[in-house]
């Protein structure tokens, strides 16, 4: 039989109307398959991009100062990096700042609803930052499985426990996911504080303003036996607060305030929304600029 | 008469300047110095003059500078060409008396009466008349056309220039009396608690010996010496501390417990005797002399570029130190005997080997020598 051009099998077959069509498998969101992004050719390509372009751009934009990385000297296996989150700059900044041993062996827990809602976005983020899709609205067994699988395979996981970028500059309460994951996999959580990224790119704007940033790594924290994940999450949150204090003042002052329970919270003061915003001091005009005195 | 003759030959002089820069002492090969076999003996210029037949005649630093074309144009009007060099002379008179010549050609030798004020006061080394009178210009025997010099078989000297050599003193020690007199003269101007001597050539070593002679100066004596032989001699002649030239500043700092700013000691030596006379040595002297201290320039400096800010700021005395008086000569004879100065005479050459002799003298330090002299005692037709 001579098959006419422009029909099957040159084109796809038509679905016989007598056969029931099964429902579509979702291929975006948490269902996005990212295994390929952790296989060799991709890893190598990403490492190259990250170490050249990534570092270059981050260096120009954020001039990061990295502190406390020596606290990771004794850590052997995978860890969970838990950082505060104020800007899209956070992820590339962190990925280029974490110590070499972890840098090319870290996946980023990214909101499935934001980063993986389109397949092209999924491919992009899985390649560029080694993102894995995580349900951020609730603790989902599937996300948890995926993340612990990563840890079991020796990959560190970068999580922003606030569940998203801060809308107003103050941090949001930590969700228990990271803590839960750490307790379950038995790996330490490394609290990380990122300072200054909001000045570069804040939520809701598209304008990049180069500025200086500081990345402060804290000592790894392990969940105590039988510790409630929510309590552990609070412990991590406080550790990030102390790092913020350490960054703003110095380590010794921060330790003393931490010991006496006076560490200022990154979540900002209590009170109404405007007072919280007001105490950030953002956008406020400074007084007359001081002219340098002679000489 | 056989003699080494230094003539006014501009092209040769220029060649010597170049050669001398390349290799010290090589001015003798290309320069205006030549061995003449048949020049006339100098005539006696007057009744008080006698003929001296040199036995030994030393090669001095100033001779080397002349041969290598390095001497200052300052000397031009106070020398007269052609001349026979050599002013460190021990020789015989016709009656067999051994004498050392005090070579300065002062008012007395020039038959000037009245003498200049300096000569009248006994400071004959400062004589104002060295280019005048019936003699050709010449600051010393060995730079004057009329007198001849030690590097020839015969010279003439005024009776006032003669010092009889004691029988006990060998020719070898006596030939060092003239430079020793320079050193005695320098030592008589030095003083203070710490004295530094820069340079351990003949003059440096003799200055050390003169400073220690008769314990005139009880102060600490720090000397620099580049070469092992110089170090040994400096130590033997009485230096308390002998260091390499670049260690002088540290040695003086340590000795005087001084502080420093930059390379300048805040304190330093009371008196620094520069027996080298280069820009570097003068600069170093300024570095290590105490405020209000004295630098004596014993080595002949020539045209020099030096930063004198320290001199101004620290009110340092910079003094020249030239030659000797008759008294210095008398002391120098004692010194030559007491300090056994013959040990400083390292080598002697006949006139025929003058090129070797001059090369040896120009490289005395590295070759482990101090003073090199011509030995004329065995010359034929003497």
């Amino acid at each position: 039989m001579r098959l006419p051009r422009g029909s099957f099998p040159w084109i796809g077959p038509a679905w016989p109307s007598t056969v029931e069509r099964p429902p579509d498998e979702p291929r975006t969101g948490t269902a996005f398959e990212t295994d390929w992004a952790r296989k060799y050719p991709t890893r190598l390509a990403r490492a190259l991009v990250l170490d050249t372009v990534g570092k270059g751009v981050v260096g120009m934009l954020a001039s990061p100062k990295v502190r406390g990385d020596d606290r990771l000297a004794d850590v052997k296996g995978p860890v969970i990096f838990a950082a505060n989150h104020a800007s899209h700059v956070d992820t590339p900044l962190l990925l280029t700042s974490i110590p070499d041993r972890f840098r090319h062996h870290t996946v980023v827990a990214a909101g499935a609803d934001y980063f993986f809602d389109k397949r092209w976005k999924g491919y992009l983020w899985a390649f560029a930052i080694n993102a894995i899709p995580i349900e951020r609205t609730r603790v989902s067994p599937k996300s948890l499985r995926l993340a612990s699988q990563m840890l079991d395979d020796g990959w560190s996981v970068l999580i922003f426990p606030e569940g998203g970028r801060s809308p107003h500059g103050w941090s949001q309460p930590h969700r228990a996911g990271a803590a839960f994951l750490a307790a379950r996999a038995g790996v330490p959580v490394v609290p990380v504080h990122l300072e200054g990224t909001r000045r570069i790119l804040r939520k809701g704007t598209g304008r990049l303003t180069p500025s200086t940033t500081t990345v402060t790594f804290g000592s790894p924290l392990l969940a105590a036996g039988g510790e409630d994940p929510r309590q552990f999450a609070q412990r991590v949150e406080r550790a990030v607060d102390v790092l913020a204090d350490e960054q703003a003042t110095d380590w010794w002052s921060a330790r003393r305030r931490a010991a006496s329970g006076q560490t200022p919270s990154l979540a900002g003061p209590e009170g109404s929304e405007w007072r919280r915003f007001w105490s950030l001091g953002e956008g406020r005009r400074r007084g007359r600029p001081q002219l340098p005195r002679w000489p | 008469m056989k003699a080494l003759l230094f003539e006014r030959k501009v092209a040769r002089y220029a060649a010597a300047t170049v050669a001398g820069r390349l290799k010290p002492g090589s001015g003798a090969k290309v320069g205006p110095l030549r061995l003449a076999h048949d020049i006339d003996e100098p005539e006696l210029p007057g009744p008080d003059w006698v003929r001296v037949r040199p036995r030994l005649a030393g090669i001095c630093g100033s001779d080397l500078a002349t041969i290598d074309g390095k001497s200052s144009r300052y000397f031009e009007p106070i020398v007269s060409f052609p001349f026979v060099p050599g002013h460190e002379v021990v020789g015989d008179l016709d009656d067999g008396t051994r004498v050392v010549v005090q070579p300065t050609l002062t008012c007395a030798a020039r038959s000037l009466d009245p003498t200049c004020d300096q000569c009248a006061a006994g400071r004959t080394n400062r004589c104002e008349r060295i280019a005048f009178g019936h003699l050709a210009p010449g600051l010393q025997t060995g730079f004057c056309e009329h007198t001849g010099g030690g590097w020839g078989l015969s010279l003439v000297a005024h009776r006032s220039q003669l010092h009889t050599v004691p029988d006990a003193l060998t020719d070898e020690a006596a030939v060092l009396v003239e430079p020793a007199a320079c050193a005695v003269h320098a030592a008589s101007s030095a003083g203070g608690t710490t004295i530094a001597v820069i340079g351990a050539g003949t003059l440096g070593l003799l200055t050390i010996a003169a400073l220690r002679h008769g314990n005139v100066h009880g102060g600490n004596l720090i000397a620099t010496a580049k070469y092992p032989e110089q170090k040994r001699l400096a130590k033997e002649l009485g230096a308390d501390v002998v260091v390499e030239p670049d260690a002088l500043e540290r040695a003086i700092r340590s000795d005087t417990r001084s502080l420093k700013f930059g390379d300048q000691l805040t304190g330093g030596a009371s008196c620094v005797i520069d027996c080298v006379g280069s820009a570097a040595s003068l600069q170093q002297a300024l570095q290590v002399v105490e405020p209000g201290g004295t630098i004596l320039m014993v080595g002949m400096p020539g045209v020099t570029t030096v930063d004198l800010t320290g001199l101004w700021h620290r009110e340092v005395d910079l003094r020249g130190c030239y030659a000797y008086t008759a008294d210095d000569f008398a002391t120098a004879f004692d010194l030559a005997a007491d300090a056994k100065l013959e040990r400083l005479l390292s080598a002697t050459y006949p006139l025929d080997r003058y090129r070797d002799a001059i090369e040896h003298a120009a490289q005395a330090g590295p070759r482990g020598a101090v003073k090199v002299a011509f030995d004329l005692r065995n010359e034929r037709n003497r």
Partner: protein, 528 residues
Amino acid sequence: MPRPGFILDVDRSTPPTLFWHGEGYRLEKLPAGSRVIYPPEPLAALKDPDGAVRHALLNPIGDSKPLPELLFAGMKLTICFDDISLPLPPMRRPDIRQRVIEAVLDLAAEAGVDDVVLVAALALHRRMTDDELRHALGNRVFDAFNPHGRLTQHDAEDPDGLLHIGLTDAGEDVEINKRAATSDLIVYVNINLVAMDGGWKSTATGLASYKSLRHHHNVKTMQHSKSFMDQHRSELHSSNWRMGKVLRDSGIKIFQIETTLNSDTFPSQFGFLQKREWEWTARDRAGFLASSKALDRTPDRMKRSIFHSIQAPHQMTSVQAGEVEAVHALTTEHVYRQQLVEVQGQTDILTMGLPYISPYNVNSIMNPILVACLGLGYFFNLYKGKPLVREGGVVIMSHPTPWAFNPVHHPSYIDFFEQVLAETTDPIEIESKYEERFATDPWFIHLYRTSYSYHGVHPFYMWYWCAHARQHLGGVIVVGGDPRSVRRLGFKPASTLRDALEMASDVVGRDPSITHLHNPPLLMADVR
């Protein structure tokens, strides 16, 4: 399981032996019948060093309460730490001092202690630069304390910064850092690289003034310390212990923290430096060949900076805290566990290769005086019982011994070398004739206090350190050294090991016994 030290009997089949040679190394063929002493392999490191530190602070040894009970709000706390001379080479970050001091400060913060000062216990050593302090203490401690003037360095010449505590039974002055002496508690953080370090020597030497130090840093003491690495036979230590008693009786409270390191001294690319030659792999051989060929063509300055940039992968093998003497007894055991090698009998000739570094030239030049001190002071004294080499025997050291000094770090060394050693090499004469002049020289004091220079008297101490060896030995030969500086030191230069052995036979006779100290990594010989 790390292997203990090993003594190799050299025969014809033995591969050549590695000799350190300053900023480089050589392979030398030792005559058959020689012995080579190899150090024990690095001990296993503590699994959780930070946890171990915290455990030590909470569970002190001897008559001492746990650290948290000694800390209270409103107290005056001084934390002293060992200076740049330890460990060698400098260790990779984080340095032990950082770990321990952070742990101590954590407890102090919990107790609400406000008045804390850190003191680098450098005695008469040079001041540390900011970078060096940062390396030792970590950025956090440095940034927290340095800007407020709370990170200080002991100044043994500060008339207002010293306190005379009293006299020992033997009439020795005890004068230490005033801030430390007037504190409610001194926490002293040690790194015990060799058996000499630590104990009362930490406080009584590290924080002392010249007036106090001269009682034990002198020729007589050193000649009676056999060896100063063995504290029970060391007059140096007896004196320090006497001073410790005075400190304790005066009511000064000291919480001593001592740590030991394993001997993992060189990074993996230099792994062959701490392996036995016959176990060198192809990679080790390639590493040796490539590096020694390259070093031959490298100018001295660059060689120096290459070697001084080596950071050792040292790791902590123990940490103990509490009362000084109890802590030190345990520490010494740990040091011995890592370093001790049992050796049967003395030798006629002891050969040693001297490396590029000694305690006093970190980031600096190993000048000839330090060469002498490293060989005759440190390596010779790395024995317990009897010296490795018999009385009247010969030491052959291999080092280029250049006539080179760091004018910033070692100004008094230059004068010592140029002025003192030119006159005499006899330690007793040097001590009586020159020590005071150098020790009280205002310029050296000025440089010690305001610049980065060792104290004026320090080169004398280096010379005294050699006194025991000089008294014991029949001769010292330096292989491959600059003859001028070797002679100035009073030693004999030789161009090859073969020549040196030939020269030594004039002293010890034909057919001598030869032992090579394969060091570093450090080892200490227990000579039976």
